[in-house]
């Protein structure tokens, strides 16, 4: 009895055991186990090859890359994934000298620029490598931060020329949920590329964005073309810092203001602020304003229309006042806060206008912050207290339901 016969007999016995009596009706089939065995295993779909190769150790994976085209793709992808798992965060600037000589991934492209400074070398994913047939996620944290202030001007210029950002975002944008640009003197065109190619973007932070040329005719034409682009429906957090070009911010807010939940704005530029706040923020819950000057000019332009933030619950406001006519500016500041009285739950504001009788001014104006539960006051002095002052009495009227009052000292 040869082995095949033995196997066939075993199966029959097994089926009999399983069903009590032989119920299987074999209509027509061969009993030869090996007769129809495929001649090669190219027929395995890539996901099954992947299922096998994820178990293989790293050294053997390098051998698998040489087997054939399909195995090469799958093994390369798996190697890249393992290499990237070791990265805790992705930053184009290497943190130690060691990394320069021992790159974590052999396929990572090193862009060399002139100069010996450590910051003059970047580690970037193999974006331009033609052998990269599968786009794998080069960002283990799904967050990309490019801080141009760390780079020397000559180098950043060289990098901009060598790096095709549009191609980069086109290929890898869908992995990103967060993008931060710091001091990125780039154009509207780039920002447009970023927004178009990041369908899963949730948070965007830009600071000092915009080229030096400002609003040229070319930019105006671009703005007109870019007014109706589709952006990520999940983009809910936006941070605009420092010197962002007004036209850029306006264009950006025009695209996403209606879906923002968190909005951070840090600017001294009244023009920027006013242009931004023309928009309707239907879903906005958290607003953080820092460094804004509440000057007379601001008062003249601001019409105090609070209806454009119907859901605002958390307001963090850190003022930068104009010391000329200080009381007037404090009142403008209080007026600004007063317009959100119907919806606010948490309020974080400066102490200075309060100690100057700001609450009294607001009480006379009429709004009651009936929903406010927690109130935080920022003070430059350690010893400030509300106990026994007129401000406390006014606060009790203005915030009848507040349960938590903190005085936060930054001195």
């Amino acid at each position: 009895m040869d082995s095949r016969e033995r196997k066939a007999r075993n199966w029959f016995q097994w089926t009999t055991k399983l069903l009590g009596k032989p119920k299987q009706e074999i209509i027509e089939h061969t009993t030869d186990l090996d007769a129809n065995t495929p001649k090669n295993y190219n027929s395995l779909p890539p996901e099954l090859v992947e299922n096998i190769l994820i178990r293989v150790d790293e050294h053997s994976l390098y051998a698998c890359r040489l087997v054939n085209w399909q195995w090469n793709s799958v093994a390369s992808k798996e190697l890249e994934r393992r290499n990237l798992l070791r990265w805790t965060s992705w930053d184009p600037t290497p943190s130690s000298y060691q990394q320069i000589h021992f790159p974590l991934s052999p396929t990572v492209t090193i862009i060399k620029a002139s100069g010996i400074l450590m910051h003059s070398r970047l580690y970037l994913p193999p974006v331009f490598s033609t052998s990269n047939k599968f786009a794998t996620n080069p960002f283990p944290t799904n967050s990309l931060t490019i801080d141009w202030s760390h780079l020397r001007p000559s180098f950043s210029h060289a990098l901009k020329r060598s790096m095709r950002w549009d191609k980069f975002f086109c290929q890898y944008g869908h992995f990103l949920t967060q993008v931060n640009f710091t001091r990125f003197k780039e154009t509207l065109w780039l920002l447009k590329q970023v927004l178009i190619h990041t369908p899963n973007l949730q948070a965007l932070s830009i600071s000092s964005f915009g080229d030096k040329k400002g609003l040229t005719l070319a930019t105006i034409i671009q703005l007109r073309d870019a007014s109706g682009i589709r952006i990520s429906p999940n983009l809910a957090t936006l941070r605009i810092c420092e010197d962002c070009q007004v036209y850029l911010a306006d264009w950006l807010l025009g695209l996403c203001a209606h879906q923002l939940v968190n909005f951070f704005i840090n600017t001294e530029n009244e023009k920027l602020f006013l242009c931004v706040f023309r928009r309707k923020f239907e879903k906005l819950k958290l607003l953080r304003i820092t460094s804004l000057k509440f000057s007379r000019g601001f008062c003249e332009v601001w019409d105090g229309d609070g209806a454009s933030h119907p859901k605002l619950q958390y307001l963090f406001i850190d003022m930068d006042i104009d010391w000329y006519d200080i009381d007037i500016h404090y009142n403008i500041y209080m007026d600004f806060i007063g317009q959100f009285s119907s919806t606010l739950v948490h309020l974080h504001m400066d102490m200075a206008p309060v100690s100057r009788g700001g609450f009294g001014y607001l009480k006379e104006k009429g709004p009651i912050f009936s929903k406010v539960r927690s109130l935080t006051l920022r003070s430059g002095l350690k010893t400030v207290t509300l106990e026994g002052t007129q401000a406390k009495k006014d606060a009790e009227v203005l915030f009848p339901n507040v349960t938590d009052v903190k005085i936060f000292c930054y001195a």
Binding site: T30, R55, L66
Partner: protein
């Protein structure tokens, strides 16, 4: 005992209990679809699997029979690194079950387990194939898996150059 008739690509019919069949994701779906579309609730479902031949189907059913009392593994278990936990608890029975098979049968079993959504079997078979890759040279892998190089131009040479840093050490 409610039965279901499972028919292989080459026409062999297997009568198995529905409880056993439902341990395969694919068969479970098919049985439920049959129940919904059939007026007679007593009718015996008949499922035709056009991609799996009788011998392989029998092996899958045999494995299911042996493991019918194991907890069902969710399909996406350990998705992070793609490994199932089944291989951790590979029993002596599994080892004896897989031992006489040659690589061709194992590969067919992988395809079948994938098609029928039997995660436990997929894990142990993939693990077996992995053991045939680890530690082998490229030529040995090609011979074992009956694969041929289909690189174009200097792609293979390029890959060898990229591998050099780890192979030469």
């Amino acid at each position: 005992m409610a039965l279901v008739r499972v028919i292989s690509s080459d026409g062999a019919a297997f009568l198995v209990s529905q409880r056993l069949a439902k341990r395969s994701g694919k068969l479970k779906t098919e049985i439920e679809t049959f129940r919904k579309s059939s007026d007679n609730s007593e009718a015996q479902p008949e499922i035709r699997i056009v991609t799996i031949r009788a011998e392989i189907l029998r092996l899958v059913l045999q494995w299911l029979q042996q493991h019918q009392n194991d907890p069902v593994l969710p399909a996406n278990q350990n998705e992070q690194d793609g490994r199932g936990d089944a291989e951790m608890g590979q029993s002596q029975w599994d080892r004896d079950f897989l031992a006489p098979m040659d690589l061709g049968i194992v590969m067919e079993l992988i395809l079948a387990a994938n098609h029928l959504e039997v995660k436990g079997l997929l894990d142990i078979t993939c693990k077996l194939v992995e053991s045939k890759i680890t530690g082998r040279t490229v030529d040995e892998i090609r011979t074992a898996f009956k694969l041929k190089s289909d690189f174009k131009g200097n792609e293979e040479e390029q890959t060898r150059l990229e591998n050099r840093w780890c192979v030469e050490n």
